[in-house]
């Protein structure tokens, strides 16, 4: 059996929404280099909707795949929905993660929450 599901490998090999969003108005960064994972989410929020989103990640395969999947799950969605996104939902959307990699999906959830906090603090 492969280490990761096909979905994880697909998002790892072809990450969606990769890069920097120059006109982002909500930025969240979580994790630290010492632990080997950093995720940065750039959101463009308009009319209480995530109009656009991009990410940058330093980390393992599942960290990259989790960020990629999470951006897909919030793109074009109302904030009411975005703030309810859980790591469990990200993990399920990826057809599961190995137990010791679940924390990657937690980071994805936290990165989005952190971006939302950033947005609200600036309002």
């Amino acid at each position: 059996m492969a280490l990761y599901s096909e979905k994880v490998m697909d998002h790892f090999r072809n990450p969606r929404n990769l890069g920097v969003l120059e006109d982002a108005n909500a930025i969240g960064e979580v994790g630290n280099a010492k632990c080997g994972d950093i995720m940065k989410m750039y959101l463009k929020i308009e009319d209480d909707m995530v109009k656009d989103v991009k990410f940058e990640t330093f980390g393992c395969g599942s960290a990259i795949a989790s960020s990629s999947m999470a951006t897909e799950m919030i793109k074009g969605k109302p904030l009411s929905e975005v703030e309810k996104l859980t790591n469990k939902a990200v993990t399920e959307a990826l057809d599961g993660l190995p137990t010791h990699k679940i924390h990657c999906s937690v980071l994805a959830e936290q990165a989005i929450k952190s971006a939302l906090e950033d947005y609200r603090s600036k309002k």
Partner: protein, 394 residues
């Protein structure tokens, strides 16, 4: 496929496979049986013992076949500890970057009251013999230092350490799992009392290895039962595995000079190629290392994603990142030579095989460069390093 993870395991040699099959299919007798069919297996076993002994300049009766390197390490260390305990000597000296088969055995002994000194391995990945000498005291019963490190490939000054231990009358064990078959080893000339080796690191089968213990060293059994291996390791001998191991060892040793010249040239070619990647560093001394070993840290990236993308390009390698070590911390070897966590996560080990070509080497260089550049292109750490927000460590 370019298999560049020969420090993890190697492909079995055709000759070793043939020998193994012969003893599985035809010569399946039990060496402990008295009839001729059993005695034939016994002969194969003893012939293998002689072959293995000759390679390291030992006597056949000094070779004990085991299930591999880990068992040999455990038995060597626990035996020395037992001998020490009888004399009231409860101090063991080792190094911070040993294999876990050694480190975890020492941790167990620590809980039983032993004092363990782990020597600094310095940034070049080398032990200083003077520091071994300074650490030895009247209570020291064992010095155990690996011959060559499994991650960074650095070859330790074994002869000098052996000479010190010999002079101080302290037992000296070396975990030579990465060295046997790849560099010349002479237990007499190098004053080695005990040595561990593993067959699958030199093109033999998995699940078999050996422990060399100089005549006169009383070994402690790990497995009780029958009188196999002079009563020191019970259980019917793995004759096919042992015979195949001896075949593989003889074969690789007969080609050592040629292999070394070939692999070393490719190693240095790849090192030169990878050193051109900005903010990278070769781990371990550039010269005092195994001919096949390359180990780099690249700033701003993480090792597991590097490995997965290299795998997609058909290159199998290894890393000391936390994600690949299965723990929260990166490789204890990289931390021991002073690499900080942030940098140690971005490590890559390539351990070359003897069949690697120059074209393969160039493909490896090209692929690693591409993957590192790609991963850095979306790494927030690399962004902060490039913008000067955080300082480069490499």
């Amino acid at each position: 496929m370019i298999y560049a993870d020969n420090a993890a395991t190697t492909k079995m040699s055709d000759a070793a496979i043939d020998v193994m099959l012969t003893h599985i299919k035809e010569n399946y007798g039990n060496p402990s049986s008295l009839y001729e069919f059993g005695q034939k297996a016994k002969e194969v076993l003893e012939e293998a013992r002689t072959d293995v002994a000759r390679v390291i300049n030992a006597q056949p009766e000094e070779i004990l076949f085991t299930s591999g390197g880990s068992e040999a390490d455990n038995q060597a260390i626990l035996s020395a500890a037992e001998l020490g305990r009888k004399q009231g000597k409860l101090h063991i000296i080792s190094t911070a970057f040993e294999h876990h088969a050694v480190l975890h055995t020492l941790e167990k002994l620590k809980k039983q009251g032993f004092e363990i000194t782990l020597l600094d391995v310095h940034e070049d990945g080398l032990i200083r013999p003077s520091e071994v000498e300074a650490a030895i005291n009247d209570n020291t019963c064992l010095v155990t230092v690996m011959y060559a490190n499994n991650e960074i490939g650095t070859i330790q000054p074994i002869k000098e350490i052996g000479e010190i231990c010999h002079r101080k009358k302290v037992l000296f064990h070396t975990d030579a799992v990465q060295a046997i078959g790849h560099v010349p080893v002479d237990v007499v000339a190098e004053n080695i009392d005990m040595l561990s080796a593993s067959s699958h690191k030199f093109h033999g089968p998995k699940g078999v290895g050996f422990l060399y213990a100089r005549k006169g060293i009383a070994l402690t059994n790990l497995i009780e039962g029958g009188a196999q291996e002079r009563g020191k390791r019970a259980g019917t001998e793995n004759v096919p595995g042992i015979a195949a191991m001896a075949t593989a060892l003889k074969e690789i040793c007969s080609k050592m000079e040629k292999n070394t010249a070939h692999v070393k040239a490719l190693r240095d070619r790849i090192i030169k190629g990878l050193e051109e990647i900005p903010h990278s560093i070769l781990n371990g001394d550039a010269q005092k290392r195994l001919p096949s070993n390359i180990n780099f840290c690249f700033e701003g990236i993480e090792g597991e994603s590097l490995l997965l993308l290299l795998d997609d390009k058909g290159i199998q390698a290894s890393s000391g990142s936390a994600c690949t070590s299965g723990s929260l911390d990166p490789s204890h070897v990289l931390l021991a030579i002073g690499r900080v966590h942030d940098v140690a996560h971005g490590s890559l080990r390539l351990s070359l095989g003897e069949d690697l070509s120059e074209t393969d080497a160039d493909y490896i260089i090209k692929s690693v460069r591409e993957v590192v550049e790609y991963l850095r292109s979306f790494s927030p750490v690399w962004r902060d390093l490039s913008s000067g927000k955080i300082k480069h460590l490499l």
